[in-house]
Every structure is written in structure tokens, then in C-alpha cells.
Symmetry: D2
């Protein structure tokens, strides 16, 4: 997961983008970057490792990143090239048509083949980032209009892509035809804003918030009025990430057109219906499962309590290098309010169980604090498969539900009972009972586009050269 | 407010202290520091501006801060000398008896007179920090035992002090006779830990947690077994800070011997009794009023919802320099879940109302999101006076309740009703109905020790020199 | 001017290169970089602004730049993109054949045309550096052997190039057919070293020092034994930079096969023959004219004295931002030993006069220190033209000799007499009386290759694809 | 050795001091600092490790160090507390009379006793720097006028001291009664400048340059006109450091009233008289022995050549951590011009021989370059004793001449002959044949003040308190 944001036609575009990146910070804490475009000064960039606050701490916006157009990116940790500065997005280069910058949230499954074909024609790569492929697909394209180059590039890739592109004429937003990753636009300050989540718009607040439709490029340009929309591919099936609802997004965001808060309430209610329990206390694993746990408690008429406390100063941490630190890990982040749970029967609600490590430690913390019974509830189905489209989930052999047979799971976590949602519960909560709109591949193990036809290209024919 | 922590007789004392400082980070984000004492390497220090994570990021614990004894400090922002590195605690010097280091949480009301008397005898000050006065009181003392020097120094000061001192023989913890600021000790790893809040101990977890009694020095030394306790002053009256319960402390900490979580529940319940209201939704201002709001809702049988979201990536921020940023301030930190409040009658619960600025903006945010009625409740009495003992509250003319007559307050916040606790409600919730144990000066305007006798010194007579 | 260095087949190649870059530091102080190649870890790089000492200060060689092969670069200040990190060499990318890194010392006169042709085929540029063109010429080449790609690339460019290239199979050194810039190789530590000047080898000391012949690639590879030599272009005419002898190179280096010290002695002797003078003292402008001045004094039997002192702590300086600083400029760098010159007739010897600014200030300093007569001598001809091949000399209208008619020059510098070498003197001192080996274009204004045939390509025919 | 500089009554005093510190950089490269005094902003400081250029790189002079008065310090490496930031001068504190800052060049032989007596009265030390003692001697003094406090402090110390002090009323310069270390003042810009060497004044250039007389305070104050001079102690004997002439000072400085250049010429001439030799070439060890070597060559009518080259980019170096680097040490700094010495008989002239390590390596380098004979000459007597007064010379057992009997010395260096000056030669060259003005203790081993009476105090009587 990553977060992307853009601004076009507003004064101090880069500064505006920086505020949106802060609002999207939960989507990626490893690096941050902005490229700004100014008519006089050309394209300028500031990129670095760390939170947006840290990377942009000493930026003099008017001097370092001037201009009315900018795109930005916050990146989630990726193990492979963690310390390679050249992986930090947005990417910027000069190519046939002039300046080109891209910020990409996504993952390509045909990366190797595309890269080979691009280098065959002379492309020079600076990293193994998927997003570099897009830069070269655009640079090598024989088409002249950038929106067509973007469409062509997405059509040549397989996988998930939400994309912001900036060239000397304007700013482009595009989403792949299956719509795996969210991307929105809105009006503000006489121009347009773009972001991965709508909560990034709320700080201004921007108006007329709308999603970028899958298979479409939205274009804000110097020479055109309002926005231009161009569809480059068509698919009736969507594969919007259901895990974004469950975990990644902020509860105050719209996700793929649905308010995340309402979805999470329905997940909690479905969990209450599927796995009710008689306890003295319902406790959320803060903060991502707060809404689900509250809905669960209210549906069952059970007392609710903040008996687990999360410390919010644990961003990047110096504790990794020492063995004792790893042991303390969970305890540094989560602490039990002993007075609240001692002698009580407790239902603990989490959004999901991935590796099971944290769940097991939470159970142990509660037990040590005197909880009499511990009932664990997951507001999503068992995670049994890594993500095919690149979300940074662990390999199958590290997934708790994949490696632990159903009957052994409660014992493996040392809890008195354990309950998950079913895939149907999840899809119903997403109001997609047919399952044609969402990807649930990590819960089913089925490839997200297996058996589906490749989306039809709607691009105009390429005009022959000369 | 500041946070202090210490460790004695444990391996990797400095590292242990760094973990406690992280757990105390909510008490101060401006600077952090640790002084470690090692028999072979003497006293070493690392200090800097920023969060503990940032200051200690590149510390090689064994090389830079070796030893079995260490004290640390996290400092709250103080306007006067914000950029003076020499204000960063702990302070360390060499004096008559050898090495001396101190970490001080408190505020002296007779600072000027003490400083003058100290410089008269040749003291050289590096900053205007109150804590520097302690260093020189200890250094100029004619007494030879450090615990006596500490007691004498506290007896000469007026104001609030929780203190950790380290010399070549051991580590000392002391609290002034009125006990204004909390300080605890516990057993762990074959040695002793010290910290401003008990939640700092939970990460290990440490055992036998006990408060340092007012007017007492607790001493952990190389040449003695277990701990030594020495009382240097006696007062029947306590002036423990009631605002620590309301706002500063983590809900999972013990505060002055009472679990903070339970106190906050009682505050919420008292608020429900004092100012009930008929609404569709009770909403906390996260995170400090979560427990109070939940207790309020449950006492009245009202629905509870997380309709305000707080962003946790807003620590130190680059947004200050620009005017538009200041406007966006609250909105960057708090966002309303529109879906949850639209068309509803809302009770919003906050722990306190100080300047009123945030309260007013929250009301406006809720109104803009479609709330039909807004009822504001403060889980503490009106704040009508700055703190006499140095907590960083604003001057009287910036205090909302001091400057706004009671009948105008709801209108001033643009809310439909407004309700506070009374001072009696607060004291009852603290189980101190006589008011002899707590300072409520910011709610009453009365000087905390006005009319009280100066605590009696219990120090042994000073042996004449020669 | 820049400095390049490489090492192949030696342990700690990157560290070895760093030592050579330090020895070449006089050729460029703005930025420094190293790319190292390791079989296991692939290609790694460290690059930054500043002296080699500063850029590599915290490098952990075994961890950050492991491997037995490395190339490095120190860059002279170039105005256009001074603050663009992406201009810092060596450049590294992944292309059709795998990893590719280049360090380039030179300047292309057909840059614009080449860049256009490359972007036409999809090349993406990160900066306007000439050296980026080489990277893309190699990446887009249809040839498969790297030495052929290098030869083809140089043959397509016009201008000066000394080049180090590293790919997954080895390290290549190449020089353009006119041989404008120096490049040497030598044997050491079981492998090979490459550097712009031979003094970089003296620190080891390396053996069998030889120049890379113009139009030739020298190849050190994993799969071959000793070195491979391949000629890709042929020219009987050389255009070795005569200004390198006069100014750029260290006196302890070999330059284009001649010891610099001996050349400078001949220049001083020629100057004595051309413009003798009767004075009390011969004074060098330190340090570059020391050898010439001493030879001048000894040839004429005149006393020699170090009456001008140069401060060696003036590398990168904080004095630029203030007006008064610019005034102090020369005086911060040069100081007159008053006692040595008071009342004396002084001959001051400099290697060259470019802008005339420093010469004028030196004359004023000497006059102020009481010199009775000042006779200025330049150990090179009048500089009347900017460099066609990219050495960072000023434009024509800033060149003293170009803008000041011969009869007015002494007066313009406020000296009693002024004497230059002739172009013939210079060529004779270089033992190239025919002028077929050296470029003297900055002294004559004639284009260095005007009227010369383009060198003949000796590359094997390109094998057709498929 | 250290360098100190001050400015009073000039605009941008701190910036002016920074330029002087750059000119004094040869006296200390480990750390640099400036304290500036401004009527409105009080005392401000910037201090750090590294060259002046590095420490002050990002200083905004008007914002960070405003005011018309400033003092600064560059520090030589001292092993004991190399990484203690708190050793970096100038020191600043607030004491009885207000602000106090000092920059000290010197060394106290009764440090321990003074420190004990100061801590006994409550002084708190931040480091083991000698200069801290001065701060506390001033702070604890019962006298009220700062010049008297300074005089009293110097009279209480034993050892060498050149001192700049700044308080709220002005700037004071003082030198101990034996005058071991140089200190000068001059007029410039409507105010006064102070510096360890006169070459620091030449950059402006300042006028009326005069030494601060031993036993005297020179005072520039806000309330007085021009300068005030106060003598606090009297001694007929001086102990000016003879090694400053030989090695430390810049040749363009006045040293204790004599031009360094002229002294070094006399040393070279004396060496020619004492140890003439028949050789083909006289070669200096650059840069400190250039003047001596040239005088030697001219006195004997021998050819002179720059056959050893020194690299000037070797300031602080990253080469220390690796063994191979230490081996390369000398070779990174010095390189032989092979062409100049091959087959020749060479006299190599150095200013002194301390450890002998470099001398031995130079001889080996010359031999390897083909020198036929090597005759080593030292322009000072054998160094047989460490400095009693604190110059950072090695212990006796590391001194070449102390550990090697006279007859074995040439063989120990592998040279064909070796010649030193005598102590009489040295004193005659200093025009102090009686030896009453200079310290030659490192050449004789006799304590510099042994048998001398303690200088008489000339301070006014202390007015009794009350």
C-alpha cells in the first residue's frame, strides 16, 4: 500500500500536496516525496526517507517547490530495496515530450516481461520498482497524447494501478480497469485535488468529491477547461480491494464509494450475528477495530471498554536492533488496563488475524492482567493466501489461518473461543453479495482475475508515423 | 509537564530508560536526554531536540551510554528558551563530590531569589531552567550525604518537584512535601526502576510498584542493600495535581495511587449525573476523553460513536510557518465522520475546556457535518486560573471560562448546551471529598499553599566544618 | 575538469578508489561518488556534494560498497545544475545487459542532437549532464560487446571524453581519438588501477603506469587474463590539452606521457629567455606556479622568495553570501609577507592570466606592502578564447587578454611590466614544435579540430539481428 | 595550541571573528566556536566539531550571532575528551555580574589544586578543560571589576594563558606575566580586533597592530574611550615559546614582535653555517620548512627544488579506521617528484624532528625515487623533552632525539648525514642570545620557570565586603 496525492491549478500546489500526504500517512511511513511543476522553474523535487513531516521539515515551499501543479507519494515499507533512495517516488525524468513525473500505487504481475521488453529497446532502470516500468512505457510509447500513453501503458500491464502523471501540459489521474486501488478527485481553490482517500480532502475542505472510474484517465490541463475524462479500457467486473475496507483505510474516508465507517459498523454487526458470546466486556484492539468492536458490543447489548491502550509514539523505532526489544515489541505498543479486565470475561475484537503473533500476545497480556475468559473475534474471514496484487502481506507459510487447521486455532492463540466472519458475511457487509465488485482473493486463495476476460481497449488507433 | 525515568542495577540501564521515556512520551515531545553512569567510563550523555525515537535513533547503547545506572528526561515545550540546547535535561556536571546528574519535573516559585543567592557564591548558570537551580543547590550544600543535600535543596525551594539524582554512589528519587508531581519506583531485572507514571513499568513488566512518598528520598546505592528511604520533610496536606487525572496521564497508569482509568470512569459518571442530556449519539474528543465519554454514555444508556477521528502523525509539524496552515490546524488533527453524525443530536465530551479554541472548532466541524444539536460536556470544572506551580497553561486572559461569563459560554462556543463538573464533583471522583490531598487551584483560583504552614524539615543537623 | 578513478580485481576496490579520488581532489571539489560492483551484492553507490573526505566520511566500506571492482568521480563546479543531486557521477542503471555504471570526464559538442535522437527512441534523462548521453548511447546500442558499445558511443559523439565504464563482466577505460583528456592505468594488488593522473597511483605505489591510448578501450574482465586492448578509432592528430600542463595537473603527475614537473621547469626557463627582468626578488603565485617561478629565478640568477602565502583552509567557504566577503576574497587566500618585499623590485610569476582579477589584486597587495617595482610574468600565452571542449573557462568578454589590447595590459594590471610566453614557446616546452599533438585553442582562438578529418572507425561490422 | 580571536565595536562582529578564525585555522582544526554579544539579544553561541568553514556553514549571521562584540576559538585536537561537545570553546555562562564568556589559549600546571579549591566552594564543571577553571575563578572572585577578576585569576594560575573575556560591559584581552602565548590587538572598522597571530588582521587589513603585553589586560568597553590598559603582574623574564617561531605560526605573521619570515630565514642561514653539505639539490619538507630550506640553499649557493609535494585536501580524513590507510598516511600527504631527484644527492630540510616517523618515511620515499645521497637537516635543536606548558607534544619516550643516542640518529633515519641547530643557534636567530625572553624547554629539558621568582601582583587591594 502507498498513498498518492496531487494538486493542479492551485497556488502553492506542493504545500497543498504535503498536507494531503500527511493525511495519507497511515498508508506509508517509509518515504515521502513531491515533484512540483512551475512554468518558469520547470520540475523540482524533494524526496527522502521518513514521514512527510520529516522529509519536508526544512522545505521552503516557494523556493524549493514552486508552481501551481504537484504530485506526491508516501511509500509503505518494501523489504527488497529498503535503502535505495532511487526507489522513492514520485519519479521524474525528461523524455521525448519534455518533463514527465509519476506517482504510482500498485503492483504489476507481468513486471519481468515488461522490463525485458523495455530494456531491449534501450530503457535504463534505476531500481526494481514496478513504477519505473510505467515511466518507460510512457517514454517509449509511439503515441503523442499523454492520456493515450497512460492508457496504453495500463493496458500493457497486468495488476493493480492507481496513477498520477504530470507532464508539461497538466496532471493526469488513472486507475486500472479492475479498479483494485482507490483514487479520488475533488475541486478546491480554483483547481483540482487528487488523492488515494477522501479524508485527505476534508482538511481544506474540498468539494465535489468523486472517484476516478476504473479504466479512465481524468485530465486537468493548462489548455482545457474544467476536467477531461477519457476511457481507455472497459470491464464489467471490478476487483476493488476488500482488505482496504477492513484494515487500510481511515474510518473517516470514503472507500470505493462507500463510507468506511458504515462498512465497519456492518462488519461488527455481522460478527455479532455470526459469533455472539456472553462476556462482561467487549474490548477493541485499537485503533483499527474500534468501530467494529463498538458495533459488536452494541448489537449484543454488552459493555464496551478501552481496556487495551495503544501508544502513538511508536512510528519508526530504535528498538529493532536488540533482542530484548523484539520481545517487548507488542508491550511497547499495547498495554492492558489491569483495573478494567481483572476477573472479567472478555471479548477481544480485531479487524483481522494475519500472522497471529500479535493476537497471541494480546491474549497473554489479558490473561496476565487477570481476565477470566478470553474470546477472540476477527471482523474478517481467515486470511489464507498472500495478496496476488502486491499488498505487503506475508508468504503463505507465515499466515496463521493457512498454517493452522480450523479446530486448533483457538488453542494456538490460547483463547477460550475464536470466531471469524465468512466470505459471504464480508461481501454482504460490502453490499456486494454477488462478489462482482470486490477482490477477496486473500480470503479464498483464488486468483483475482482467473477466468476473467482481459478488459477491452478503447484507445483510438495509433496514427502511423511519418 | 515533563517525564522522568531512571534505572539502577540493571544491565543496559540507558536502554531500559529509553524504553520508559518512549512510554512517557505523551508528557513531553520537545527534547529527550539520558545520562548513564558506568564504573569504568564515568558519566556519559546523549541529549537532543525531538522525540525519544529521534534523539536516540543512532545510539549504540553499549558504546555511547554504557553502565548499570541511568536517568532520563522528556521535556514539554517551553516557550522561553525553546532553542537553547543547554536546557535539555538531564543536567550533568562534576562538583565537589564527583559526578552529579539530575532530571527534574517541576517548577519553582522562588527561582529568582534562589538564583541570586547562588550566583552570589559563584554559581555559573547555562540557562534559565528551574532545574539548574537544583544542581547548584546540591553543589553548594555544605552537607556531605547526597540524600541530605537533596532534602535540603527541596526544603529551600518553593514549588513542585519530582526529582531523579545520580551521583557516583547511586541513584536518588525525591518528591517535594506537598507531593504535587507523581513519581514511582518498582523492581525489575535485579535492580530498580523509577518513572513519572506506572505505565512505563508495564512494558517489562516491573513488580512491586510503589509511589515515592512526598517529603521522602528513595535511594538505590552501590554499597547498600535493597533501597533506603529517608524522610526530609513532613506535611499532612498534599497538593497532588488533579489535572493530571483529568488530562495528562495515560489511562493505563496509576496516578498518585489511583488507577487513572477508574478515576476517569467516575468523572464520566459524575458528568452524566450533573448534566444529562437527550441525544442520539455520545461522541468523545479522542483520545484523552474516550473513557469519560464512554462512561457518560453508558450511565445514561445512550449510543456511543467514534465520530471524531484523530490523526496520529501530527507530532512535530512543518505546518506552523504558513498562515493557511494555522487555519487548517484542528482539521489536520481531527476529522468528523460525516456519515455518523448527519441529522443527529450529538453530545460531545471533552476532558476539559482551556482556551476554548478547539471546542469551538469541533462544534463548527460537527455542525458542518450535519449534526442537528450539539451539547458540549466538560469532564472537569471551568478552568479559571493559570497553574501556580508551572504546568504550561495559558495566562488568565486566554482562559475561556475566566473571560466568558457563565451565561454566555454556550453561545460563545455555538453549542446548544454546555455543562461542566463542579469542583466537588471532581474531588469526589478523586475520593478526596475533604480536598486535603489534591490541588484544584486552576479551577478555584486560590493559591495552592495559601494559609498552609511550611512543611517541617526532618533533616539531621548540619555537622560543623573542620 | 573532473577526476575519474577505477580499480579492478583488488580487495576493497571502493576504498582504493576513494584514496585515488582524494589524490585527484584538485580536479574537482563540488561532488564525489563511487559505484562498486560485487558478485553477491550487485552494484552499490555512494554519492554526494562536497570533498571526497566529506562524502565518504561515514562509509562502512565492507558493508556499503563491497566488491572487487569500483569506479569513482570528483566533479568540478558547473554552474547550470549545481544543486541537482542527479548530476553527481558515476551514473548507474540497469539496462539490457544488466548493470552499467559510467564515470565520464569530458564535454560533448553535439549534445543536443544526440539527446534528441536518444529521447526519440524512448530515453529518459535525469539531468542535462553530458555524461547521461553516454549511458543512453550504450543502452540503446544494438551491439552486444561492451567495448564495441563504448567505441560506437565515442565515435558518435564530438568532443572530449575520458571514460570509465563498469558492467557485470568488468571494467573498461576509453579515451576519444583526439586524446584531449588524460587517462592512465597501472598494476597493483593483483589487479588494475585507472586514474586521470598518475599521482593517484603513487600512494600505493602502483607499477607499470601507462596512458590509455586515444581511440582505444582498455578492458579488465572477469573472464580474461591480463588486460585486453581494442582500438575503435584512428587519428594521427592529437589534441591533448596544453592547459592541463600549465595549470590543472599536479606537478608530481605524468601528463600525456611527460612529467609535469619537467614541463613546468621548461616553461619557467622559456619565460626567462623571452622576458628577463632585473629585480631584487622573484615571487611565485603559490602553489601552481612555484616550479615555473623557481626555474625563472634560477635561469636568471635572481633571488627567489615565498613572499605570497596561500591559506589552505579555504576549500568550500561560507564567505560567499556577504558583499564584504567577496571583497576580502583574494586576501583570505593570499597574504603578502611584508618584510620580504618592502622596498624591493619584484617579479611575480603566475602560470596564466585568465580574468585578470586576481593578478590585479596581487599587484595591489604587493604595492601596499611596499614593493618598489612590480613585473608580472605569465608562464603561458595570452588566453584569448574560451575552451571549445568544455573546460570551465569564462566567456570571451571576461577574458583579460581578449578584452585588453596588448599595449594597455600592463597599465590595466597596474604593473611596471608584463610578459607572456608565445604559443611557440609553449609548444616547444611541450616538445611538440609541430603542434600536432596538443590543443592550444584557448591561446589561438582556432577551433581544435577545424579542418581535420573525422577519425576513422575501426569497429567490426554490426552483426545483423536475428 | 589553539587560536583565539575577538572583535569589539564593529558591525557584524561574529562574522568578522569567523574570518579571523579561518586565518588561524592552522592553529586548530578539531572544533570552532563563536559567542556574540548583542545589547538586545544577549549572548548567543554557535559551536561545533570541525573546521570553521564547516561549523559556521549554515550560520545566518544577523539572526544567529547578532551584535557588535564577539569572541571565537579554534581548538587543536586533545586526546582526552575528544568527543565531549562541552569542551568546545568559547565557554559562556551567566554569573553574579551577568553574562560571561571566555576563549582561552593555554595550559595550567596547577589545574588540579585550583579545581579542588573551586569545587569546594560549589563550582560545577562540565569538562576537564583547563579553561573551565578560568570561568569559575572569575565567577567566584570577590572583586567587582572584570579586569581585576581576570588579573586575579591569572595570578592564581601557574602556566601559560592568552585569554579573551567578554562580559556585558565589554571585551578584555590578557596574557600571563611570562608571555608564553602570543596575543595581538589592532584597530579596524571603528572598533578593535584581537587575535593570536597578526596574519588574521591582514585580511581586512587592520591597523596599529600591537601585542598584548605580558601581565596586562587590554579592555575595550562600552563606556570608555579608546582602549584601557591595566597591568596586573610584573616579570622581567619572558618565556615566549620558541617552537612557535619554528613550527606553529604562519610565515606571514608577526610572532612576539618579530616577523616570522625573517626569523625562519635566519634559522636556515644558521643551519647552513652549522651543517653545510655538498649536494645537487636542496629540498624542503613543505610547507612549514620552505623558507628555511630556501635560505639554506641560497646561503650555500645550492640548487633548490620542490621535489616533495604536499596534498592540501587531507584535513580531517576518513582513512584512519583501516590498517592499510595508516601505512599510506605519509604517502597520501607527501609525494616525491621522481624526475627531480633520481640520481641526485639531496639535502632535505625540515623545521624540526619530533617523533622521527615522518622523517624516516620521507627518507625512504626519496631513496625509492632514486636519490643517491640523503642529508637530513633540522632547522631547530633536538627535541628531547615534552612541553611543560601544554603544547601537544608527545611524551619523552616517543621523542626521537630523546630516545636515540646522538651517534645512532642518522642510521636510525637511514640517511647519509643528519644535522641539527644548537640551542645557541636558535636563540641567536631569535635575537635573544641571553635566553631571557624565550622558552627553550623542549630543547633543554629544563623547567621553564625553575628558579624564577613568582611575578609580583600589581592588583589594587580588595575592598572589604559590606
Amino acid at each position: 500500500m502507498c498513498g498518492i496525492a496531487g494538486a493542479f491549478g492551485v497556488s502553492n500546489a506542493a504545500y497543498t500536496v504535503s498536507l494531503m500526504l500527511k493525511a495519507l500517512q497511515h498508508r506509508g511511513q517509509e518515504s515521502a516525496g513531491i515533484v512540483a511543476a512551475d512554468r518558469q522553474n520547470g520540475f523540482r523535487q524533494v524526496r527522502g526517507f521518513g514521514l512527510a513531516d520529516e522529509v519536508f521539515l526544512n522545505v521552503d515551499w516557494d523556493r524549493d517547490l514552486p508552481g501551481g501543479s504537484a504530485i506526491g507519494h508516501v511509500r509503505y515499507s518494501t523489504v527488497s530495496e529498503r535503502h535505495n533512495r532511487r526507489c522513492i517516488q514520485p519519479f521524474h525524468c525528461q523524455e521525448r515530450h519534455g518533463n514527465l513525473a509519476i506517482a504510482h500505487n500498485g503492483n504489476l504481475t507481468n513486471y519481468d516481461r515488461l522490463r525485458e521488453s523495455l530494456t531491449e529497446k534501450g530503457a535504463t532502470f534505476l531500481s526494481r520498482s514496478d513504477s519505473g516500468v510505467f515511466l518507460h512505457l510512457l517514454a517509449q510509447s509511439r503515441r503523442n497524447r499523454t492520456w493515450e500513453r497512460i492508457g496504453e501503458a495500463i493496458n500493457r500491464t497486468k495488476g493493480a494501478s492507481a496513477l498520477l502523471v504530470m507532464d508539461d501540459s497538466g496532471l493526469y489521474a488513472a486507475v486500472d480497469p479492475f479498479g483494485f486501488r482507490p483514487l479520488f478527485y475533488a475541486c478546491w481553490g480554483g483547481g483540482y485535488l487528487f488523492a488515494s482517500e477522501t479524508s485527505a480532502f476534508d482538511i481544506f475542505p474540498a468539494e465535489s468529491v468523486r472517484p476516478v472510474e476504473p479504466g479512465t484517465v481524468v485530465y486537468a490541463g493548462h489548455m482545457i477547461v474544467p476536467l477531461l475524462f477519457r476511457q481507455f479500457a472497459k470491464s464489467d467486473i471490478r476487483r476493488q480491494c476488500s482488505f482496504c475496507h477492513v484494515y487500510f483505510s481511515r474510518p473517516d474516508s470514503m472507500v470505493f464509494g462507500q463510507p468506511s465507517y458504515a462498512v465497519r459498523e456492518r462488519l461488527g454487526q455481522a460478527l455479532a450475528a455470526r459469533h455472539p458470546v456472553e462476556v462482561d466486556l467487549v474490548v477493541p484492539v485499537p485503533d483499527s477495530s474500534n468501530v467494529m468492536a463498538l458495533a459488536y458490543a452494541q448489537a449484543l447489548g454488552l459493555p464496551f471498554a478501552f481496556a487495551l491502550m495503544r501508544s502513538h509514539y511508536m512510528g519508526r523505532t530504535f528498538i529493532t536492533p536488540r533482542q530484548e526489544a523484539r520481545e517487548l515489541g507488542v508491550r511497547m505498543k499495547l498495554n492492558v488496563v489491569r483495573a478494567a479486565v481483572a476477573g472479567k470475561r472478555v471479548a477481544i475484537i480485531d479487524d483481522s488475524i494475519v500472522r497471529g503473533t500479535t493476537s497471541r500476545k494480546i491474549a497473554a497480556l489479558l490473561r496476565a492482567a487477570g481476565a477470566r475468559e478470553i474470546h477472540f473475534r476477527s471482523a474478517s474471514p481467515p486470511v489464507i493466501s498472500p495478496c496476488h496484487w502486491g499488498i505487503d502481506t506475508p508468504e503463505r507459510d507465515q499466515l496463521f489461518a493457512a498454517m493452522t487447521p480450523e479446530p486448533d486455532r483457538a488453542a494456538a492463540l490460547s483463547v477460550d473461543s475464536l470466531g471469524y466472519l465468512t466470505v459471504s458475511d464480508l461481501l454482504n457487509s460490502l453490499e456486494d453479495s454477488a462478489g462482482s465488485q470486490h477482490c477477496v482473493s486473500c480470503f479464498t486463495g483464488r486468483h483475482p482475475t482467473a477466468g476473467l476476460p482481459r478488459p477491452a481497449s478503447l484507445l483510438p488507433d495509433l496514427v502511423p508515423e511519418g
